[in-house]
Amino acid sequence: MTAAPEIIVRPRFRLEPYVQFAQKAMAREATYRFDVFTSVASVLVRVYLLRMVWVALYARNAAPSELPLHAIITYSTVALLMGLVMDIDQTRQLHDKLHSGSIATDFMKPIIVPLYFFADGSGEVLFHAALIVPSLLLALFIVHIDVPNAFVLAAFFVSFFLGYLVGFCINFILNCVAFWTLEIHAVQLIVTWVTDLFGGEIIPLVIFPVFLQKIAFVLPFAAMFSTPLLIYVGVIRPERYAAAIGLQAFWLAVLAGIATLMWRAGAKRVIVQGG
Protein backbone atom coordinates (compact mmCIF):
# COMPACT_ATOMS: atom_id res chain seq x y z
CA MET A 1 0.00 0.00 0.00
CA THR A 2 1.41 3.36 -0.92
CA ALA A 3 1.34 6.32 1.42
CA ALA A 4 -1.35 8.90 0.80
CA PRO A 5 -0.05 11.67 -1.45
CA GLU A 6 0.91 14.91 0.22
CA ILE A 7 -2.06 17.15 -0.43
CA ILE A 8 -1.13 20.08 1.79
CA VAL A 9 0.48 22.68 -0.45
CA ARG A 10 2.43 25.18 1.56
CA PRO A 11 1.62 28.68 0.28
CA ARG A 12 4.46 31.07 -0.35
CA PHE A 13 4.89 33.30 2.68
CA ARG A 14 3.67 36.87 2.29
CA LEU A 15 3.75 39.52 4.99
CA GLU A 16 0.87 41.70 3.75
CA PRO A 17 -2.00 39.62 5.17
CA TYR A 18 -0.51 39.83 8.64
CA VAL A 19 -0.12 43.59 8.42
CA GLN A 20 -3.80 43.66 7.46
CA PHE A 21 -4.71 41.47 10.46
CA ALA A 22 -2.86 43.86 12.75
CA GLN A 23 -4.61 46.90 11.24
CA LYS A 24 -8.01 45.21 11.63
CA ALA A 25 -7.27 44.50 15.28
CA MET A 26 -6.28 48.15 15.86
CA ALA A 27 -9.50 49.38 14.30
CA ARG A 28 -11.50 46.90 16.40
CA GLU A 29 -9.89 48.15 19.62
CA ALA A 30 -10.47 51.78 18.68
CA THR A 31 -14.24 51.25 18.74
CA TYR A 32 -14.26 50.75 22.53
CA ARG A 33 -13.71 54.38 23.37
CA PHE A 34 -14.92 54.29 26.93
CA ASP A 35 -12.57 51.39 27.66
CA VAL A 36 -9.72 53.57 26.46
CA PHE A 37 -10.71 56.24 28.93
CA THR A 38 -10.97 53.64 31.68
CA SER A 39 -7.55 52.17 31.18
CA VAL A 40 -5.88 55.60 31.21
CA ALA A 41 -7.87 56.68 34.29
CA SER A 42 -7.04 53.45 36.06
CA VAL A 43 -3.32 53.89 35.41
CA LEU A 44 -3.43 57.45 36.78
CA VAL A 45 -5.26 56.38 39.94
CA ARG A 46 -2.71 53.67 40.56
CA VAL A 47 0.19 56.05 39.91
CA TYR A 48 -1.21 58.31 42.64
CA LEU A 49 -1.87 55.38 44.98
CA LEU A 50 1.59 53.85 44.61
CA ARG A 51 3.23 57.22 45.06
CA MET A 52 1.40 57.70 48.36
CA VAL A 53 2.22 54.15 49.46
CA TRP A 54 5.95 54.51 48.80
CA VAL A 55 6.09 57.99 50.32
CA ALA A 56 4.44 56.67 53.49
CA LEU A 57 6.75 53.66 53.65
CA TYR A 58 9.94 55.65 53.04
CA ALA A 59 8.99 58.34 55.56
CA ARG A 60 9.18 56.09 58.61
CA ASN A 61 11.69 53.41 57.63
CA ALA A 62 15.31 53.18 56.51
CA ALA A 63 15.41 53.45 52.70
CA PRO A 64 17.15 50.65 50.78
CA SER A 65 20.38 52.04 49.37
CA GLU A 66 19.88 50.70 45.85
CA LEU A 67 16.36 52.15 45.48
CA PRO A 68 15.86 55.67 46.85
CA LEU A 69 12.33 57.09 46.92
CA HIS A 70 12.52 58.80 43.51
CA ALA A 71 13.79 55.59 41.93
CA ILE A 72 11.01 53.42 43.33
CA ILE A 73 8.35 55.93 42.25
CA THR A 74 9.89 55.96 38.77
CA TYR A 75 9.90 52.16 38.85
CA SER A 76 6.20 51.94 39.77
CA THR A 77 5.12 54.53 37.22
CA VAL A 78 7.05 52.96 34.35
CA ALA A 79 5.69 49.54 35.42
CA LEU A 80 2.11 50.84 35.22
CA LEU A 81 2.76 52.32 31.77
CA MET A 82 4.29 49.02 30.62
CA GLY A 83 1.22 47.31 32.00
CA LEU A 84 -0.89 49.08 29.38
CA VAL A 85 0.62 46.77 26.79
CA MET A 86 1.83 43.87 28.92
CA ASP A 87 -1.45 43.14 30.69
CA ILE A 88 -3.33 42.43 27.47
CA ASP A 89 -4.06 38.83 26.59
CA GLN A 90 -3.25 39.14 22.88
CA THR A 91 -4.09 35.53 22.12
CA ARG A 92 -7.56 35.51 23.71
CA GLN A 93 -8.87 35.03 20.14
CA LEU A 94 -7.40 31.53 20.15
CA HIS A 95 -9.53 30.54 23.11
CA ASP A 96 -12.63 32.23 21.68
CA LYS A 97 -12.18 30.51 18.35
CA LEU A 98 -11.69 27.13 19.98
CA HIS A 99 -14.83 27.73 22.01
CA SER A 100 -16.96 28.64 19.00
CA GLY A 101 -15.28 26.10 16.72
CA SER A 102 -14.40 28.73 14.11
CA ILE A 103 -10.74 27.72 14.47
CA ALA A 104 -11.54 24.97 11.95
CA THR A 105 -12.01 27.47 9.13
CA ASP A 106 -8.78 29.24 10.08
CA PHE A 107 -6.91 26.01 9.47
CA MET A 108 -8.28 25.95 5.95
CA LYS A 109 -7.07 29.43 5.14
CA PRO A 110 -3.69 29.81 3.42
CA ILE A 111 -2.11 31.42 6.49
CA ILE A 112 0.19 30.41 9.31
CA VAL A 113 -2.36 30.39 12.11
CA PRO A 114 -0.09 31.18 15.12
CA LEU A 115 1.35 34.08 13.17
CA TYR A 116 -2.18 35.30 12.56
CA PHE A 117 -2.72 35.39 16.33
CA PHE A 118 0.58 37.19 16.79
CA ALA A 119 -0.37 39.81 14.17
CA ASP A 120 -3.86 40.26 15.57
CA GLY A 121 -2.50 40.56 19.12
CA SER A 122 0.22 42.99 18.05
CA GLY A 123 -2.36 45.25 16.42
CA GLU A 124 -4.32 45.30 19.65
CA VAL A 125 -1.17 45.94 21.63
CA LEU A 126 0.03 48.72 19.32
CA PHE A 127 -3.25 50.50 19.80
CA HIS A 128 -2.88 50.29 23.56
CA ALA A 129 0.78 51.31 23.29
CA ALA A 130 -0.46 54.59 21.83
CA LEU A 131 -2.23 55.18 25.16
CA ILE A 132 1.15 55.28 26.90
CA VAL A 133 1.73 58.80 25.58
CA PRO A 134 -1.34 60.52 27.12
CA SER A 135 -0.99 58.39 30.26
CA LEU A 136 2.63 59.41 30.65
CA LEU A 137 1.89 63.11 30.12
CA LEU A 138 -0.93 63.05 32.67
CA ALA A 139 1.13 60.98 35.10
CA LEU A 140 3.78 63.70 35.06
CA PHE A 141 1.27 65.92 36.87
CA ILE A 142 1.24 63.41 39.71
CA VAL A 143 4.83 62.20 39.90
CA HIS A 144 8.31 63.04 38.79
CA ILE A 145 9.92 60.35 36.63
CA ASP A 146 13.68 59.93 36.32
CA VAL A 147 14.91 59.68 32.74
CA PRO A 148 18.13 57.71 32.27
CA ASN A 149 20.68 58.37 29.51
CA ALA A 150 20.16 57.20 25.92
CA PHE A 151 22.24 54.03 26.27
CA VAL A 152 20.28 52.83 29.31
CA LEU A 153 17.04 53.77 27.60
CA ALA A 154 18.01 51.75 24.52
CA ALA A 155 18.82 48.72 26.69
CA PHE A 156 15.49 49.19 28.46
CA PHE A 157 13.56 49.10 25.20
CA VAL A 158 15.39 45.98 23.99
CA SER A 159 14.65 44.31 27.31
CA PHE A 160 11.02 45.52 27.31
CA PHE A 161 10.54 44.03 23.82
CA LEU A 162 11.94 40.67 24.95
CA GLY A 163 9.67 40.89 28.00
CA TYR A 164 6.71 41.48 25.72
CA LEU A 165 7.58 38.39 23.68
CA VAL A 166 7.93 36.31 26.86
CA GLY A 167 4.49 37.53 27.91
CA PHE A 168 3.10 36.67 24.48
CA CYS A 169 4.41 33.10 24.78
CA ILE A 170 2.96 32.66 28.28
CA ASN A 171 -0.45 33.89 27.09
CA PHE A 172 -0.25 31.72 24.02
CA ILE A 173 0.59 28.63 26.08
CA LEU A 174 -2.33 29.30 28.42
CA ASN A 175 -4.73 29.74 25.53
CA CYS A 176 -3.40 26.53 23.98
CA VAL A 177 -4.63 24.71 27.11
CA ALA A 178 -8.10 25.36 25.65
CA PHE A 179 -7.36 22.66 23.06
CA TRP A 180 -7.80 20.16 25.89
CA THR A 181 -10.16 21.87 28.32
CA LEU A 182 -12.24 24.90 27.48
CA GLU A 183 -12.52 26.27 31.01
CA ILE A 184 -9.23 28.15 31.27
CA HIS A 185 -10.34 31.50 32.61
CA ALA A 186 -9.64 30.69 36.26
CA VAL A 187 -6.22 29.27 35.41
CA GLN A 188 -5.40 32.40 33.42
CA LEU A 189 -6.38 34.65 36.31
CA ILE A 190 -4.28 32.58 38.72
CA VAL A 191 -1.27 32.96 36.43
CA THR A 192 -2.01 36.70 36.17
CA TRP A 193 -1.84 37.19 39.94
CA VAL A 194 1.32 35.11 40.20
CA THR A 195 2.88 37.09 37.34
CA ASP A 196 1.90 40.39 38.94
CA LEU A 197 3.68 39.44 42.12
CA PHE A 198 6.69 37.46 40.86
CA GLY A 199 7.17 39.51 37.70
CA GLY A 200 8.01 42.60 39.73
CA GLU A 201 5.13 44.63 38.34
CA ILE A 202 3.85 45.90 41.70
CA ILE A 203 6.81 45.40 44.01
CA PRO A 204 10.42 45.47 42.80
CA LEU A 205 11.90 42.00 43.33
CA VAL A 206 14.96 43.51 45.05
CA ILE A 207 12.70 44.43 47.96
CA PHE A 208 11.62 40.80 48.47
CA PRO A 209 13.09 38.85 51.39
CA VAL A 210 16.24 37.06 50.24
CA PHE A 211 14.75 33.55 50.00
CA LEU A 212 11.79 34.80 47.92
CA GLN A 213 14.15 36.83 45.75
CA LYS A 214 16.05 33.67 44.94
CA ILE A 215 12.83 31.99 43.81
CA ALA A 216 11.53 35.01 41.91
CA PHE A 217 14.74 35.58 39.95
CA VAL A 218 14.84 32.01 38.63
CA LEU A 219 11.21 32.08 37.46
CA PRO A 220 10.46 33.21 33.88
CA PHE A 221 8.07 35.93 35.14
CA ALA A 222 11.00 38.15 36.16
CA ALA A 223 11.86 38.41 32.45
CA MET A 224 8.59 40.25 31.80
CA PHE A 225 8.70 43.30 34.08
CA SER A 226 11.59 43.07 36.49
CA THR A 227 14.52 42.95 34.05
CA PRO A 228 13.55 45.98 31.91
CA LEU A 229 12.52 47.99 34.98
CA LEU A 230 15.69 47.26 36.94
CA ILE A 231 17.68 48.29 33.86
CA TYR A 232 15.67 51.52 33.70
CA VAL A 233 16.25 52.52 37.33
CA GLY A 234 19.90 51.51 37.21
CA VAL A 235 19.89 48.59 39.64
CA ILE A 236 21.10 46.37 36.81
CA ARG A 237 24.30 48.13 35.72
CA PRO A 238 25.57 48.23 32.09
CA GLU A 239 28.21 45.55 32.75
CA ARG A 240 25.38 43.13 33.61
CA TYR A 241 23.15 43.96 30.63
CA ALA A 242 24.45 41.06 28.53
CA ALA A 243 23.70 38.52 31.28
CA ALA A 244 20.28 39.98 32.12
CA ILE A 245 19.09 40.25 28.52
CA GLY A 246 20.66 36.87 27.74
CA LEU A 247 18.54 35.30 30.49
CA GLN A 248 15.43 36.88 28.99
CA ALA A 249 16.37 35.45 25.60
CA PHE A 250 16.86 32.05 27.22
CA TRP A 251 13.35 32.14 28.72
CA LEU A 252 11.93 33.32 25.43
CA ALA A 253 13.50 30.35 23.65
CA VAL A 254 12.23 27.87 26.25
CA LEU A 255 8.69 29.26 26.29
CA ALA A 256 8.55 29.56 22.50
CA GLY A 257 9.59 25.90 22.32
CA ILE A 258 6.83 24.87 24.73
CA ALA A 259 4.31 27.00 22.83
CA THR A 260 5.29 25.35 19.53
CA LEU A 261 4.96 21.85 20.96
CA MET A 262 1.58 22.61 22.50
CA TRP A 263 0.33 24.22 19.32
CA ARG A 264 1.36 21.21 17.21
CA ALA A 265 -0.25 18.74 19.59
CA GLY A 266 -3.38 20.87 19.89
CA ALA A 267 -3.73 21.47 16.16
CA LYS A 268 -3.47 17.71 15.55
CA ARG A 269 -6.33 17.14 18.00
CA VAL A 270 -8.58 19.58 16.16
CA ILE A 271 -7.87 17.90 12.86
CA VAL A 272 -8.40 14.40 14.31
CA GLN A 273 -11.73 15.45 15.75
CA GLY A 274 -12.70 16.75 12.37
CA GLY A 275 -12.94 20.39 13.40
Binding site: F34, D35, F37, T38, A41, S42, V45, R46, Y48, L49, M52, V53, V55, A56, L57, Y58, A59, R60, N61, P64, E183, A186, V187, L189, I190, W193, V194, D196, L197, I202, I203, I207, F208, P209, L212
Partner: protein
Protein backbone atom coordinates in the same frame (compact mmCIF):
# COMPACT_ATOMS: atom_id res chain seq x y z
CA UNK B 1 -47.19 38.06 55.01
CA UNK B 2 -48.04 35.47 52.38
CA UNK B 3 -45.89 37.46 50.00
CA UNK B 4 -42.94 37.14 52.31
CA UNK B 5 -43.42 33.39 52.58
CA UNK B 6 -43.38 33.09 48.78
CA UNK B 7 -40.18 35.10 48.61
CA UNK B 8 -38.57 32.93 51.24
CA UNK B 9 -39.56 29.83 49.28
CA UNK B 10 -38.09 31.27 46.07
CA UNK B 11 -34.91 32.19 47.89
CA UNK B 12 -34.53 28.66 49.27
CA UNK B 13 -34.91 27.24 45.77
CA UNK B 14 -32.34 29.75 44.56
CA UNK B 15 -29.74 28.39 46.96
CA UNK B 16 -30.71 24.81 46.23
CA UNK B 17 -30.08 25.36 42.50
CA UNK B 18 -26.82 27.20 43.19
CA UNK B 19 -25.47 24.38 45.27
CA UNK B 20 -26.64 21.67 42.88
CA UNK B 21 -25.01 23.54 39.99
CA UNK B 22 -21.76 23.81 41.92
CA UNK B 23 -21.83 20.08 42.67
CA UNK B 24 -22.50 19.34 39.01
CA UNK B 25 -19.48 21.34 37.82
CA UNK B 26 -17.05 20.25 40.49
CA UNK B 27 -13.81 20.77 38.56
CA UNK B 28 -14.89 24.21 37.50
CA UNK B 29 -15.70 25.04 41.10
CA UNK B 30 -12.29 23.84 42.27
CA UNK B 31 -10.57 25.99 39.65
CA UNK B 32 -12.49 29.07 40.75
CA UNK B 33 -11.79 28.31 44.36
CA UNK B 34 -8.12 28.08 43.43
CA UNK B 35 -8.44 31.49 41.85
CA UNK B 36 -10.09 33.00 44.96
CA UNK B 37 -7.37 31.51 47.11
CA UNK B 38 -4.52 32.80 44.95
CA UNK B 39 -6.17 36.22 44.57
CA UNK B 40 -6.38 36.88 48.30
CA UNK B 41 -3.19 34.95 48.99
CA UNK B 42 -1.13 37.06 46.61
CA UNK B 43 -2.63 40.29 48.00
CA UNK B 44 -1.68 39.30 51.55
CA UNK B 45 1.72 38.06 50.37
CA UNK B 46 2.35 41.44 48.71
CA UNK B 47 1.51 43.24 51.97
CA UNK B 48 3.80 40.91 53.87
CA UNK B 49 6.69 41.39 51.43
CA UNK B 50 6.45 45.18 51.58
CA UNK B 51 6.03 45.41 55.34
CA UNK B 52 8.79 42.88 55.90
CA UNK B 53 11.16 45.37 54.27
CA UNK B 54 9.47 48.53 55.63
CA UNK B 55 8.03 47.52 59.02
CA UNK B 56 5.76 50.52 59.53
CA UNK B 57 3.27 52.30 57.29
CA UNK B 58 2.14 55.44 59.07
CA UNK B 59 2.42 53.48 62.31
CA UNK B 60 0.64 50.40 60.98
CA UNK B 61 2.50 47.08 61.04
CA UNK B 62 1.83 43.95 59.01
CA UNK B 63 -0.23 42.58 61.92
CA UNK B 64 -2.49 45.66 61.78
CA UNK B 65 -2.73 45.46 58.01
CA UNK B 66 -3.74 41.80 58.19
CA UNK B 67 -6.71 42.79 60.37
CA UNK B 68 -7.53 45.64 57.98
CA UNK B 69 -7.51 43.17 55.08
CA UNK B 70 -9.54 40.57 56.97
CA UNK B 71 -12.35 43.04 57.70
CA UNK B 72 -12.57 44.10 54.06
CA UNK B 73 -12.34 40.50 52.87
CA UNK B 74 -15.33 39.32 54.94
CA UNK B 75 -17.49 42.30 53.94
CA UNK B 76 -16.56 41.89 50.29
CA UNK B 77 -17.09 38.10 50.33
CA UNK B 78 -20.44 38.56 52.06
CA UNK B 79 -21.48 40.84 49.23
CA UNK B 80 -20.13 38.49 46.57
CA UNK B 81 -22.02 35.57 48.11
CA UNK B 82 -25.42 37.18 48.50
CA UNK B 83 -25.55 40.08 46.05
CA UNK B 84 -23.13 39.42 43.21
CA UNK B 85 -26.17 38.61 41.03
CA UNK B 86 -27.08 42.31 41.11
CA UNK B 87 -24.05 42.83 38.88
CA UNK B 88 -25.62 40.60 36.21
CA UNK B 89 -28.58 42.97 35.72
CA UNK B 90 -26.95 44.94 32.85
CA UNK B 91 -26.40 41.66 31.01
CA UNK B 92 -30.07 40.70 31.52
CA UNK B 93 -31.10 44.12 30.22
CA UNK B 94 -28.89 43.73 27.17
CA UNK B 95 -30.18 40.29 26.18
CA UNK B 96 -33.81 41.06 27.03
CA UNK B 97 -34.05 38.56 29.92
CA UNK B 98 -34.75 41.43 32.28
CA UNK B 99 -38.14 42.14 30.73
CA UNK B 100 -39.35 38.78 31.95
CA UNK B 101 -38.80 39.82 35.55
CA UNK B 102 -41.05 42.85 35.07
CA UNK B 103 -44.18 40.84 34.34
CA UNK B 104 -43.86 38.48 37.29
CA UNK B 105 -45.73 39.14 40.55
CA UNK B 106 -42.67 39.59 42.77
CA UNK B 107 -40.38 42.53 43.43
CA UNK B 108 -38.06 43.00 40.43
CA UNK B 109 -34.90 43.58 42.42
CA UNK B 110 -35.59 40.55 44.58
CA UNK B 111 -35.99 38.41 41.46
CA UNK B 112 -32.75 39.77 40.06
CA UNK B 113 -30.95 38.92 43.30
CA UNK B 114 -32.45 35.43 43.28
CA UNK B 115 -31.48 34.53 39.69
CA UNK B 116 -29.55 31.29 40.12
CA UNK B 117 -26.05 30.89 38.83
CA UNK B 118 -23.14 29.09 40.30
CA UNK B 119 -22.78 30.87 43.63
CA UNK B 120 -21.20 29.05 46.52
CA UNK B 121 -20.11 30.49 49.88
CA UNK B 122 -16.50 29.32 49.49
CA UNK B 123 -15.03 32.83 49.48
CA UNK B 124 -17.06 33.73 52.54
CA UNK B 125 -15.79 30.71 54.46
CA UNK B 126 -12.22 31.53 53.46
CA UNK B 127 -12.77 35.16 54.50
CA UNK B 128 -14.12 34.28 57.93
CA UNK B 129 -11.15 31.99 58.57
CA UNK B 130 -8.80 34.78 57.42
CA UNK B 131 -10.44 37.37 59.69
CA UNK B 132 -10.36 35.00 62.67
CA UNK B 133 -6.66 34.34 62.07
CA UNK B 134 -5.93 38.04 61.54
CA UNK B 135 -7.80 38.98 64.73
CA UNK B 136 -5.72 36.54 66.74
CA UNK B 137 -2.50 37.56 64.96
CA UNK B 138 -3.04 41.29 65.40
CA UNK B 139 -3.90 40.89 69.07
CA UNK B 140 -7.28 42.63 68.82
CA UNK B 141 -9.21 42.12 72.02
CA UNK B 142 -12.26 39.94 71.47
CA UNK B 143 -14.79 41.35 73.95
CA UNK B 144 -18.52 42.01 73.92
CA UNK B 145 -18.12 45.12 71.69
CA UNK B 146 -16.14 43.08 69.20
CA UNK B 147 -18.61 40.20 69.11
CA UNK B 148 -21.62 42.50 68.71
CA UNK B 149 -20.15 45.04 66.32
CA UNK B 150 -17.90 43.06 63.98
CA UNK B 151 -20.81 41.07 62.46
CA UNK B 152 -22.73 44.34 62.06
CA UNK B 153 -19.71 46.08 60.58
CA UNK B 154 -19.04 43.41 57.95
CA UNK B 155 -22.77 43.36 57.11
CA UNK B 156 -22.63 47.17 56.75
CA UNK B 157 -19.52 46.82 54.59
CA UNK B 158 -21.36 44.33 52.36
CA UNK B 159 -24.19 46.86 52.05
CA UNK B 160 -21.73 49.55 50.95
CA UNK B 161 -20.56 47.13 48.26
CA UNK B 162 -24.17 46.39 47.33
CA UNK B 163 -24.98 50.09 47.07
CA UNK B 164 -22.26 50.62 44.46
CA UNK B 165 -23.10 47.41 42.64
CA UNK B 166 -26.78 48.42 42.43
CA UNK B 167 -25.90 51.97 41.48
CA UNK B 168 -23.76 50.83 38.54
CA UNK B 169 -26.33 48.27 37.42
CA UNK B 170 -29.00 51.00 37.46
CA UNK B 171 -26.88 53.13 35.15
CA UNK B 172 -27.45 50.35 32.59
CA UNK B 173 -31.06 51.56 32.21
CA UNK B 174 -29.61 54.59 30.44
CA UNK B 175 -26.29 53.31 29.05
CA UNK B 176 -26.42 49.67 28.09
CA UNK B 177 -22.69 48.99 28.52
CA UNK B 178 -21.43 49.65 32.04
CA UNK B 179 -18.58 47.11 32.25
CA UNK B 180 -15.89 49.77 32.14
CA UNK B 181 -17.53 51.78 34.92
CA UNK B 182 -17.85 48.67 37.06
CA UNK B 183 -14.23 47.80 36.43
CA UNK B 184 -13.13 51.28 37.64
CA UNK B 185 -15.16 51.05 40.84
CA UNK B 186 -14.05 47.49 41.63
CA UNK B 187 -10.46 48.53 41.15
CA UNK B 188 -10.80 51.69 43.21
CA UNK B 189 -12.32 49.73 46.05
CA UNK B 190 -9.68 47.04 45.92
CA UNK B 191 -6.80 49.53 45.89
CA UNK B 192 -8.15 52.02 48.40
CA UNK B 193 -9.16 49.50 51.06
CA UNK B 194 -5.73 47.89 51.23
CA UNK B 195 -3.82 50.57 53.13
CA UNK B 196 -4.74 52.92 55.99
CA UNK B 197 -6.30 56.00 54.37
CA UNK B 198 -4.10 58.26 56.47
CA UNK B 199 -1.42 57.90 53.78
CA UNK B 200 -3.52 59.86 51.26
CA UNK B 201 -3.95 63.57 50.82
CA UNK B 202 -6.85 65.28 52.59
CA UNK B 203 -9.10 65.47 49.52
CA UNK B 204 -8.82 61.74 48.87
CA UNK B 205 -9.48 60.96 52.55
CA UNK B 206 -12.66 63.04 52.48
CA UNK B 207 -13.72 61.34 49.26
CA UNK B 208 -13.21 57.87 50.76
CA UNK B 209 -15.16 58.86 53.85
CA UNK B 210 -18.19 60.74 52.52
CA UNK B 211 -18.55 60.15 48.76
CA UNK B 212 -17.33 56.60 48.14
CA UNK B 213 -17.26 55.47 51.79
CA UNK B 214 -14.92 52.50 51.35
CA UNK B 215 -13.05 53.72 54.43
CA UNK B 216 -16.02 52.51 56.49
CA UNK B 217 -15.62 48.97 55.19
CA UNK B 218 -12.36 48.51 57.04
CA UNK B 219 -10.23 51.55 57.87
CA UNK B 220 -12.43 53.21 60.50
CA UNK B 221 -13.46 49.95 62.21
CA UNK B 222 -9.87 48.65 62.17
CA UNK B 223 -8.61 51.93 63.63
CA UNK B 224 -11.18 51.60 66.42
CA UNK B 225 -10.34 48.00 67.34
CA UNK B 226 -6.58 48.47 67.00
CA UNK B 227 -6.66 51.71 69.05
CA UNK B 228 -4.72 53.58 66.41
CA UNK B 229 -3.82 57.23 66.81
CA UNK B 230 -5.96 59.74 64.89
CA UNK B 231 -3.24 60.65 62.44
CA UNK B 232 -4.80 62.58 59.60
CA UNK B 233 -8.16 61.33 60.77
CA UNK B 234 -11.29 62.73 59.21
CA UNK B 235 -13.57 61.45 61.95
CA UNK B 236 -13.19 60.54 65.65
CA UNK B 237 -12.49 56.93 66.70
CA UNK B 238 -16.12 56.07 67.44
CA UNK B 239 -16.93 56.49 63.74
CA UNK B 240 -15.54 52.99 63.38
CA UNK B 241 -18.79 51.57 64.73
CA UNK B 242 -20.99 53.53 62.28
CA UNK B 243 -20.44 51.22 59.31
CA UNK B 244 -23.91 49.57 59.49
CA UNK B 245 -25.60 52.99 59.42
CA UNK B 246 -23.51 54.13 56.46
CA UNK B 247 -24.30 50.88 54.67
CA UNK B 248 -28.04 51.30 55.16
CA UNK B 249 -27.98 54.96 54.07
CA UNK B 250 -26.04 54.21 50.89
CA UNK B 251 -28.18 51.21 49.97
CA UNK B 252 -31.28 53.36 50.49
CA UNK B 253 -29.85 56.02 48.16
CA UNK B 254 -28.97 53.39 45.58
CA UNK B 255 -32.46 51.89 45.88
CA UNK B 256 -34.10 55.27 45.21
CA UNK B 257 -31.92 55.63 42.13
CA UNK B 258 -32.89 52.08 41.10
CA UNK B 259 -36.61 52.91 41.38
CA UNK B 260 -36.11 56.01 39.22
CA UNK B 261 -34.28 53.94 36.60
CA UNK B 262 -36.85 51.17 36.71
CA UNK B 263 -39.78 53.56 36.24
CA UNK B 264 -38.09 55.07 33.26
CA UNK B 265 -37.08 51.78 31.68
CA UNK B 266 -38.94 50.69 28.57
CA UNK B 267 -36.79 47.94 27.12
CA UNK B 268 -33.79 48.12 24.84
CA UNK B 269 -35.77 47.31 21.70
CA UNK B 270 -35.87 43.56 21.25
Amino acid sequence: MKHLRVMLGVYQQYWRINILTTLEYRENFLLWFGFTFVYHGSAIAALWIVLNRFPSMNGWTFRDMAFLYGLWMVAHALHNTFFSTVGDIPEHIRDGEFDRLLVRPLDTLFQAIATPGQVFPDELILAIITLAAATWYSGVQVDATFLIFVPLIVAGGALIDLAFNLFISTVAFWFVRVDALRWIVIQLEQEFTRYPISIYSRGVRLLLTFVVPFAFMNYFPARYFLHKAHEGAVLPAGAGLLTPVIGIVFVALAYVFWRIGLNRYSGVGH
